[in-house]
């Protein structure tokens, strides 16, 4: 059972100072026009006030959209390879929603399975999460349908819940969390009597994900995929705002002297995704790619890792240019006779 403390709202500033003087960069939701995104901040004042969700997730802190893996040089007729030195900056992600926080464990499951991905792991290891429970939610939120919740502590090192007073109930969950507290023990007072749940958003359960997973087992050839994806235009927005999509693509950028090998995000929405050199594509049309997206998250990952490839943040639906609403479609699948 995580240790509970009180963090006064006016103490946040000092906490940030401590973190910075400990050599950590702080990433927190920042508002720019109608975009809210995780960016480096130096004081709590810079943090966006009211928001349900950032447009893009904090995935990039551990799995950047474009990451250098190695460099090579042509010397005479030989190729010299120069490995990437890994020393990511110590980072604290502040104000991460419980759904996103939970997302890190999904990423970890994939990147630390048979192959240990040093790039991902070194970043994750240097990252601590000060999560923030949700006081409000919108119709796109469905964390509770995929095993999470607005106050869920999974993936956070410390989880803050804003109380009526504006002060925060701090739950210290991991050693990394303890470490942060130890930087400024006096900022963390004794836990208040308030019941955390009173301050959490209402997020109704929309479907049973175990039921969904079972259903999908025999759903591969269902016509519903075509029906649902008719309006999908085939972009990668859903995957690129998703906190747990892990597909990537390797690109070499070279000139006469040498080059750089990059790892870039990829999306199952693209027509080139899994296109073979032969020209054959096992997922030739959009409906098959949509099926892949759902299957991957709610059937393959659960089967393989006993983990759902979705944390119910609702970003994909909010960002979709064609209003593909994941939760709506998942419900539809569950309810199909």
């Amino acid at each position: 059972m995580a240790e509970k403390k009180l963090l006064k709202k006016e103490s946040l500033g000092q906490l940030f100072e401590k973190l910075k003087s400990d050599g950590r960069r702080i990433l927190a939701p920042r508002k720019k026009e109608n975009q809210i995104a995780f960016e480096e901040v130096s004081s709590p004042e810079e943090i966006a006030k009211e928001y349900i969700q950032t447009t893009t997730s904090a995935k990039f802190t551990v799995f950047p959209p474009c990451e250098e893996l190695l460099r090579y040089r042509f010397e005479d007729k030989e190729v010299q390879i120069e490995d990437r030195k890994l020393d990511p900056p110590p980072t604290v992600i502040f104000g991460l929603r419980p759904c996103d926080a939970a997302g890190f464990s999904v990423l970890d499951a994939v990147f630390s399975w048979d192959y240990q991905d040093a790039f991902f792991q070194s970043r994750l290891e240097k990252t601590s999460v000060i999560g923030m429970s949700c006081n409000e939610a919108d119709e796109y939120c469905f964390c509770t349908s995929v095993g999470g919740g607005p106050g869920n502590t999974k993936g956070s090192d410390i989880l803050l819940t804003r109380l009526g007073s504006g002060d925060y109930l701090a739950e210290i969950i991991t050693d990394k969390g303890e470490e942060i507290v130890s930087l400024a023990p006096d900022l963390f007072g004794p836990a208040p009597s308030d019941q955390k749940d009173e301050f959490l958003a209402e997020v109704p359960v929309r479907f049973e994900h175990k039921e969904l997973t079972t259903k999908l087992g025999a759903f591969f050839d269902n016509d519903l995929w075509v029906e649902q994806s008719l309006r999908c235009v085939g972009c990668g927005a859903c995957a690129f705002v998703c906190p747990v999509c892990v597909c990537f693509d390797i690109q070499d950028e070279a000139d006469k002297n040498g080059g750089t090998r990059l790892r870039c995000w990829d999306s199952c929405g693209f027509s080139l995704f899994t296109l073979h050199t032969s020209g054959h594509n096992p997922r030739e049309v959009q409906s098959q790619r949509w099926r892949q997206r759902v299957m991957h998250k709610f059937s393959y990952l659960p089967d393989r890792f006993e983990i759902v490839g979705c944390v119910g943040c609702g970003r994909c639906a909010r960002s979709c240019p064609a209003d593909m609403n994941l939760v709506e479609h998942l419900k539809e699948i569950v309810e199909t006779k």
Partner: protein, 144 residues
């Protein structure tokens, strides 16, 4: 430190400007060494993406040159090219790309002297502007 020497890449058509530059040579007219010429059949063939690639490849300035209007070996290639450049220039300018780094010229097979003069003036103008780091730096922006 030595004065900055700009790297200039020129895309020229085979029939007028390339031949014009040949004439510059046969007339032994001296000009700046900064330019590297790439020969294409016609200005109509010059894809605007080539110019972007030239800058990505570290060019500080680019020259595009071909036959004068009416003289195109293929009769109309240069007219098509001209429209392409009208739009491309305005787009570059609109995204804040300094078009003083992109130069267009008509140099005929008879204008050996003009070619030398075009190269020299472009080299001088671009030398004034300094190295085009803005563009090359972009390749690292956003790479973790």
């Amino acid at each position: 430190m030595a004065e900055f020497e700009p790297k200039i890449i020129a895309f020229v058509c085979n029939w007028c400007t390339y031949a014009g530059a040949d004439l510059t040579g046969t007339s032994r007219i001296k000009y700046a060494t900064n330019v590297r010429m790439i020969r294409l059949p016609c200005t109509g063939r010059i894809d605007f993406m080539l110019l972007l690639k030239a800058f990505a490849q570290g060019a500080d300035g680019v020259i595009v040159s071909g036959c004068h209007p009416g003289d195109c070996h293929y009769t109309a290639g240069n007219y098509h090219a001209r429209r392409r450049w009208i739009l491309f220039r305005s787009l570059l300018d609109f995204v804040g790309f300094d078009t003083r780094r992109v130069h267009f010229a008509w140099v005929s097979a008879a204008e050996g002297a003009k070619w030398a003069q075009v190269v020299n003036s472009v080299v001088n103008e671009v030398r004034e502007l300094g190295p085009f780091e803005d563009y090359q730096k972009l390749a690292r922006v956003g790479v973790e």
